[in-house]
């Protein structure tokens, strides 16, 4: 069973093999915990939230199309759960449409992105993430930590691929600015 793909296991769960769902939990628990920690920026209740994500995935598994990839679908469930949690905590209002998704942008180049973030900056990414607004932070996490493609991030967040690119660029720009600021303050301290 453990050699099977996520989609094959999800198909088995749909057919009634509920034990198989345990394998999916095993494969994604650590990833979802990391995603939750970085996105929500706190440690409390992470276990409960991730459990909630898996329970929701199980109850809704019949809506999963096994011809598609499982991970973006699961991350979509996680994204919704975490956003609801943020709204609950921050009492954020309901936004009809995000300004980033309204206008068309030039097609983002995914291939250049890896190079765009320097190795040095990558090392600091964890501590710099806290400075980013949620919408940029989530794209950066999904791309650099969860290693989803732009297309997959677009499916998870249900936004255009070009918007993913725009948020990634803005996120990186802000990260660089934070990094430079941090370096300068370190130099001044010395």
């Amino acid at each position: 069973m453990s050699e099977l793909s996520d989609e094959q296991i999800a198909s088995a769960v749909q057919a009634g093999d509920s034990e198989a769902f345990g394998i999916l939990i095993e494969r994604y628990e650590a990833k979802l915990k990391r995603y939750a920690r970085k996105f929500l920026n706190y440690q409390d209740e992470i276990e409960d939230l991730v459990q909630d994500v898996f329970i929701k995935s199980y109850t809704h598994i019949q809506s999963f199309d096994t011809s598609q990839r499982f991970s973006p679908w699961l991350y979509r469930v996680a994204h919704n759960t975490f956003v609801n949690e943020l709204k609950r905590k921050q009492r954020a209002g309901f936004i009809f449409f995000d300004a980033d998704t309204i206008l068309p942008y030039l097609q983002a180049q995914e291939t250049a992105d890896e190079e765009a973030l320097s190795t040095e900056l990558r090392g600091e990414l964890d501590s710099l993430l806290i400075e980013l607004p949620d919408k940029y932070k989530e794209v950066v996490i999904l791309y650099y930590f969860e290693e989803l493609s732009y297309q997959e991030i677009s499916e998870v967040l249900q936004i255009p691929v070009t918007t993913v690119g725009v948020r990634m660029n803005r996120g990186r720009t802000k990260l660089r600015a934070c990094y430079v600021q941090k370096q300068q303050s370190n130099t001044n301290t010395i």
């Binding site: 509920s18 109850t59 449409f97 998704t101 068309p104 249900q158």
Partner: protein, 255 residues
């Protein structure tokens, strides 16, 4: 087996957590499609009805006649219906946004797509006699809601928009027989906006926009009434594009 895994599998085994059946999601999809189709039809109906109302009340013609015309247009446009149409378009956008073909595109594209689709649908409805037939039907029978909508078109026609038939030509203009407002003298002056090529003949049906002083109207604009205009009071079937058959039933006009 770790904590989360054990907890969840235990909950599944005890039935505390259960998967929703496939039909639940199929039903949800069907309801979503049904909602989308309903909102599209409502949007198309509302927009086509607004265009029909503007045309039949004459309000749609008056912006061509300068600032006064624009002012009358703004004051007499069916704003509640326009607002309802905008609401239906936003609702449609929200519903459609759940589909990947929509959220993969920038919002502006799907909004333009929806507007074009609803405009084309309204145009197609405008090419039929649907609203004329609805109007006749609601005048013949008591129809809740729709009856009031169609009745208000003629009731809300502004005082300075007059529909009628030319009965006599005069040195300054013509005499107009209006079904609602009786016989009126129309004065055409330099201030009257009209097509240069227009020729006024006795029997021609026209729409006049102007200032009325008792039985005299100083025209600010005149245009020949389009053939499909609901032109007069009840019973003028021919001008409605409708005819009565031998049994008195309303039928479509021969083409």
């Amino acid at each position: 087996m770790n904590n989360i895994q054990k907890n969840i599998l235990d909950k599944i085994k005890t039935g505390e957590v259960d998967m929703k059946p496939r039909w639940h999601f199929v039903l949800k999809s069907v309801l979503l499609v049904f909602s989308v189709v309903t909102v599209i039809l409502v949007g198309i109906y509302l927009l086509s009805f607004i265009l029909f109302t503007l045309r039949q009340s004459g309000v749609g013609f008056v912006p061509l006649y300068g600032l006064r015309g624009i002012s009358v247009f703004v004051m007499n446009s069916p704003w509640l219906l326009i607002f309802s149409t905008v609401v239906s378009l936003v609702a449609l956008q929200l519903l459609v946004r759940t589909y990947s073909f929509s959220y993969r595109q920038p919002l502006v594209y799907s909004m333009i797509g929806i507007i074009i689709f609803v405009l084309l649908g309204s145009y197609a409805i405008g090419q039929t006699q649907m609203h004329q037939q609805f109007q006749t039907f609601t005048q013949e029978r008591k129809v809740p809601v729709f009856g009031a909508l169609y009745k208000r078109i003629e009731e809300n026609r502004p005082e300075n928009i007059i529909f009628g038939t030319i009965t006599e030509l005069t040195a300054d203009g013509f005499i107009l027989q209006s079904p609602r407002k009786g016989t009126l003298e129309i004065i055409i002056s330099k201030e009257t906006r009209q097509k240069r090529s227009v020729v006024y003949d006795i029997g021609k049906k026209v729409v006049v926009f102007g200032d009325r002083d008792e039985d005299v109207v100083f025209a600010l604009g005149v245009r020949v009434a389009p053939a499909d205009l609901v032109f007069s009071e009840r019973g003028d079937w021919e001008s409605r594009g409708l005819l009565k058959d031998n049994q008195g039933l309303v039928t479509s006009p021969p083409r």
